[in-house]
Symmetry: none
Subunit: 213 residues, 4 copies
């Protein structure tokens, strides 16, 4: 019993510390991802990141050994979280391929516009990132694409969709969705929601689905 008493606190203490560290890292990554997405990797200084977190530059180095590493990690978290949300949506939705694809597009754009108003840029322009990060970006992009590709192929197989080529449709869709936050940024909240809806309708046309009405 006494053993348990001694060990338990120790163990939980260590893991509490671990969790705390994890949380801190997430905070940093979130802030960083936001800034990088907003202004681009090069335009963001560590000072900027530190300031948003209200710590000093030096502290960042306690968690990440370089700006590049922070950049890579930021992308990774961002992409992982995003993909997870979309995956969950796909898993939880039923209906025709069209219904589900539309929901997926809608959700994607909504996340982009509402939650990460600028972070998506990161996935659009890998050319601007240092070498290391590009791989990271590519991989995330692929994970992301798989969700869409699966649905599109399903719809095509079922005769629901008409497409020129799946790859090209995917690319165009992705480009448009990622760009959406840029032009929706300045709209008032309500208009934003409508805009997202319209984007979804518009992009459904890429697989041959006529707009409603």
């Amino acid at each position: 019993m006494s053993t348990e008493e001694t060990i338990e606190p120790t163990r939980s203490a260590s893991s509490r510390v671990q969790r705390k560290r994890g949380r801190r890292i997430q905070e940093i990554l979130t802030a960083a991802a936001e800034l990088f997405g907003e202004r681009g990797y090069d335009a963001v200084s560590l000072e900027d990141v530190a300031e948003r977190l209200d710590v000093t530059k030096g502290s960042l180095y306690y968690y990440f050994s370089s700006k590049d590493e922070l950049g890579t990690a930021a992308i990774e978290t961002l992409g992982t979280e995003w993909t997870a949300r979309l995956q969950k949506l796909v898993d939880g939705t039923s209906g025709s391929a069209a219904d589900r694809l539309r929901a997926l597009i809608h959700e994607h754009v909504l996340i982009a516009v509402r939650d990460h108003p600028a972070a998506l840029q990161v996935f659009l322009v890998p050319r601007r990132w240092p070498h290391e990060q590009r791989e990271s970006i590519k991989e995330l992009r692929q994970r992301h694409d798989r969700l869409f590709r699966a649905l599109i192929e399903e719809g095509v197989a079922a005769g629901e969709f008409t497409v020129t080529g799946v790859d090209t449709v995917l690319q165009c869709m992705h480009a448009a969705m990622s760009q959406a936050p840029v032009w929706c940024a300045d709209l008032p909240a309500r208009a934003q929601y409508e805009a997202v809806d319209e984007v979804a309708d518009t992009l459904m046309m890429l697989v041959g689905q006529a707009p409603p009405e």
Copy 2:
């Protein structure tokens, strides 16, 4: 008379000089636009630009009084040239709105992929540019959009096109076209041409045009 004699050579000399200056400026702008497109404004140093031109940093200041000015000018030339080429195409083509729009899209993507790989990025992510330049970019973007918008509205009016909303369609089209060079960059020359064709077919679906066959 003697005045003319003296002045004439001077004038033509001076204009020869002028022309040479103009040519030099064009060279610089082309190099700069390429680099800015490839790596983003911040990631490009004047040293990089100078090196590509095989001159020294200092020389650039003979033509442009700051990096920002060079940036603005580079965008402007790029956009102007581009728009001019598209305008010419529009003027020289006849047929249905669909035919002309498809030709326009095709040309746009072709220029992007073949002639200015990466440079188009500039128009996609204005957020990464210093304030001053954004206006410049926006304006060019508008000039550019007008070409497309006119054709789309014409098609809609003629009952040829079905759209969700012209603005949204324009944005999606633009995003996809500008993004094309990124994913087409690695394809072999022949495949590139086919890819461009497919992009055009795909984007025509945004206005309700079914793909060929």
Copy 3:
């Protein structure tokens, strides 16, 4: 009586703690001395020292209040231990001044090469140490020199040795002995021992002793 009973265990406990503390300090000093010797004072960070000991930086501050203090202490222990070993050798050896000097040199170089590779550098280049430590180093150096000086003067007085000047001989000897580990570091174990022997023979020539054979 009751007092004694209470105090005794306390005292021994406290002294056990003391001993443990002492041992920990020794461990730290040894690690630090090695590192300082290997790379020089400035090139060694407390992080380096901590890592070698598998503790955190912060912990070092429990034992030493600054890097400088750690540095001074490291030198001091190193020097004290070293001098003690040599002193013991001198005390335990008899024979001619030549025999004893040779044994002393041999032992010195052996310790340097085998036990503290690099640590001796510390005594060679005081210029690289912060002001405070230099005094410390100088004093140790003197204590150290006294052993050699006594023997040399004895040999000179006895007519055994011929020297140019005792000071100069001492300096040259010291320099060569301290440098030995650098060039012997890469030799295989056996060759190392022979090398040490040869160094001893060589340095004996500085007091006019012809090499054996």
Copy 4:
């Protein structure tokens, strides 16, 4: 003729610039070598170097792309100049091997003590330098050693010298000579000269030459 007039100035202008650049680099290297020698590589900041030259830190990067590179170059110049001076002395001296070796030792120590009061340290403790530089140091050291080795071997062959082993003698000599500036630094000018003389006499004993008188 006119061609000559145009080309000549151009050519000489360019080479004048070249020479000037070379001179500037030498100035920097001299200052850097002094400081590195005085305090050690790590203890010297670029700020220090810049200040001694009365320029800003940034300027140093116009000539050297990193501190390491500056370090390597500084060593190289120092070593090259040094070796050249010794070589010249060897070439210009005649007499017995003993005479010439003594002159060489004398000159070496004199340069060290008088001209580069601390720079020699650099050659003594390569362990403290970043990897790249060590090779550089080793090579210089070898070039340097060759001068001494040749003379010693000549003296041994001629029966003038008695040695334990050439390698060991060389190492001991080198160590002592390089260390000399440290202990001679504080002597008054006259005493310094005498000290150098005595060092030479002392080190000659390493090859079996009895001191004068």
